[in-house]
């Protein structure tokens, strides 16, 4: 009893974790379903058919490809732009600092519908066609702020003494940036990029406002499919993305921790 009391927080935490992962378990389970009829809502019969043929549903892999492509381009661009801003904010004192902070914060404080619709309004007025370019512009726009926050947190903890040490040891400003500042900020930049990618990859609301009939992203495909019955392949892809993330991040961590342990 005392043991239970002492570990109350751990139990609560695990319960919450379970709550967070239940849908993923269901998704994984249903990816092995051979649904009766076109709706995949009752577990009918085990089948790995969808796994052997993940592109089997019309257009699913095209949309996934598009989403991945947009995600990569948008997160890379946003990471570059955001990192630059984060360095400016974290490293320099200049006029218009607080205005900049506000401008960075606003996209995060703006509901997605508002952002999506306002961008659509602008594009309507400017005659920018909906589609891939419009989606990219929008995604970069809302990702930048998150990158700034992630990178800035890291830059703020960077010891300016390290840069001084580099200069003291004969590194000119460019070398100092490339050899010291950038590698040290890298974890923050990577976190920002990853976050940007996940936000872009997962966005439906803003994308839907700016998509054209020929630019169906994966979330839009899922949305469309949900009206007529979600193909099992969607569950397969959802599961793959989940497991892939787990594997990639965990091996990354394993490698870095092993590297640390080896030299220890």
């Amino acid at each position: 009893m005392a043991w239970i009391k002492r570990h109350l927080i751990s139990f609560a935490a695990i319960a919450v974790l379970v709550y967070m992962l239940v849908p993923n378990v269901v998704v994984a389970a249903f990816s092995f379903n051979d649904p009766k009829g076109k709706y995949n809502y009752n577990f009918n019969e085990f089948s790995a058919a969808a796994w052997t043929n993940p592109c089997g549903a019309q257009g699913i892999c095209e949309s996934l490809g598009l989403s991945l492509q947009i995600g990569v381009i948008a997160s890379l661009t946003a990471t570059v732009l955001g990192t630059m801003i984060a360095f400016a904010l974290g490293r320099y004192r200049f006029r218009g600092r607080s205005a900049t902070n506000l401008l960075i914060f606003m996209p995060m404080a703006t509901p997605e519908v508002v952002m999506g619709s306002s961008l659509l309004t602008l594009f309507l007025m400017l005659g920018v066609p909906s589609g891939r370019t419009a989606i990219l512009i929008a995604h970069i726009m809302f990702c930048v702020s998150f990158v700034v926050v992630a990178v800035k947190a890291r830059v703020a903890t960077l010891d300016p003494k390290l840069e001084e040490a580099a200069a003291d040891l004969g590194a000119n400003p460019t070398q100092t940036f490339l050899r010291v500042t950038l590698p040290l900020a890298a974890p923050g930049i990577a976190a920002g990029a990853l976050l940007a990618f996940s936000l872009s990859f997962d966005d439906y609301i803003i994308t839907n406002f700016n998509a054209s009939p020929s630019s169906i992203t994966f979330p839009m495909y899922v949305w469309g499919a949900s009206a007529r019955g979600v193909p099992v392949q969607v569950y397969v892809i959802g599961t793959v993305m989940f497991v892939l993330t787990l594997v990639v991040v965990m091996t990354g961590q394993l490698i870095s921790s092993r590297r640390n342990r080896q030299v220890a």
Partner: protein, 373 residues
């Protein structure tokens, strides 16, 4: 004031640094001979770090010049100067191995032998076996030695050390002091060592410059500075001093002058008396005082108020009839000790006293160094 400057000597000429609201370094003139172990000592905020940063090129002087040998380096950038710094916080690059840290400077200058040289220096600081570790995996003392190696390996004209031992604990600190001194003697570079710790400065340095509030107070070798301080600030800051208010009696011999302090006549060497002053602080170091009458011509009686044993020595606090407490330090060499409450005679030799102009504050340099929170 700038003196003759040798080939590789470091020279500061009227070097000044003012921040927006505050002048951290008032015009400073100093020559540090090549190959010497030079200590910069002073209370917190006196401008030691600022001076060092100007030498390193990390801070731009408001005015004045910096020279190494014949060349004026005032306007060169940090990365162009052949000067290296060991930072108090070490500032090791956490993402590089120890070896990469040490090679960093050589690599920047395109040295082909970087690796060999770095390994050699790591051997010098006895860290060859941790070359491939990351700095965070090392203990404080090891990190300190990496920082030292990283600077040393570049064979700078001047090596600046900003409280390199400040973060180490006492025992380790004493060991590193010995190490540092050994290395300096081995490599023969000019070291400028900044420290808070007077004992450290005195044990290690060839010469010490005491700074106070952005100004140079006194410059000299450790023994001279300690035994013939020229101000109450130096007297108090460099070890402890007993200062008695006194008036110089006219006359005296060539060697000895008598002064009157609290109705007692006391002797002091004439050479330790500044010219032309009448009101003085008569100073004696605690270890120069003897409990008992055998110590010299100067004798005072008082009551022991505190006894504090610290192993090597015991410190007594002896209260004089006029209330002042004199501090007496006696080596625990087996001679009889005084006990609390006992009335004792305190005595000292005339040549162990020094006199300072009484217009100075007797407490200068002795206050709580507590303003750098």
């Amino acid at each position: 004031m700038s003196k003759q400057q040798g080939k590789g000597d470091l020279g500061l000429v009227a070097l000044t640094k003012s921040f927006a609201t505050f002048t951290a370094v008032h015009p400073l003139d100093l020559v540090v001979p090549q190959g010497s172990f030079f200590a910069l000592l002073g209370p917190s905020g006196c401008g030691k770090t600022t001076t060092l940063r100007m030498i390193a090129g990390l801070e731009e002087p408001t005015s004045g010049r910096i020279r190494i040998g014949d060349s004026d380096i005032t306007d060169t950038k940090a990365y162009q100067r052949n000067v290296n710094t060991v930072f108090q916080s070490y500032a090791l690059f956490p993402h590089m191995s120890v070896l990469d840290n040490v090679m960093f400077g050589l690599r920047r200058r395109g040295d082909k032998d970087a690796k060999a040289k770095a390994k050699e220096v790591l051997e010098l600081v006895q860290l060859e076996q941790v070359a491939s570790k990351k700095p965070t995996q090392l203990s404080g003392g090891m990190q300190q030695r990496v920082a030292l190696a990283r600077a040393l390996v570049n064979r700078p004209d001047v090596l600046l050390l900003d409280e390199p031992l400040g973060a180490l604990d006492l025992k380790l600190r004493r060991q590193m002091q010995i190490e540092l001194k050994r290395i300096q003697q081995e490599v023969g570079l000019t070291f400028i060592h900044v420290t808070h710790d007077q004992e450290e400065a005195m044990t290690m340095a060839d010469s010490i410059a005491v700074m106070n509030a952005g100004r140079l107070e006194q410059l000299g070798d450790p023994a001279t500075l300690y035994e013939q301080p020229r101000s109450t600030f130096v007297a108090n800051f460099l070890g402890q001093s007993n200062l008695l208010r006194a008036t110089v009696n006219p006359g005296g011999t060539d060697h000895v002058v008598t002064v009157r302090a609290h109705d007692t006549d006391l002797e002091v060497s004439r050479e330790h008396l500044p010219e032309g002053v009448r009101d003085v602080w008569l100073g004696v170091r605690p270890e120069k005082l003897r409990l008992g009458e055998g110590g010299g011509p100067n004798q005072l009686r008082g009551i022991v108020r505190d006894v504090s044993f610290s192993g090597v020595a015991t410190q007594y606090s002896v209260q004089m009839p006029w209330g002042q407490e004199l501090i007496v330090v006696q080596q625990n060499d087996g001679t009889a000790r005084a006990v609390l409450g006992e009335t004792v005679t305190v005595s000292w030799a005339a040549q162990h006293g020094f006199a300072l102009d009484a217009s100075q504050d007797a407490e200068a340099g002795a206050e709580l160094v507590d303003d750098h929170g």
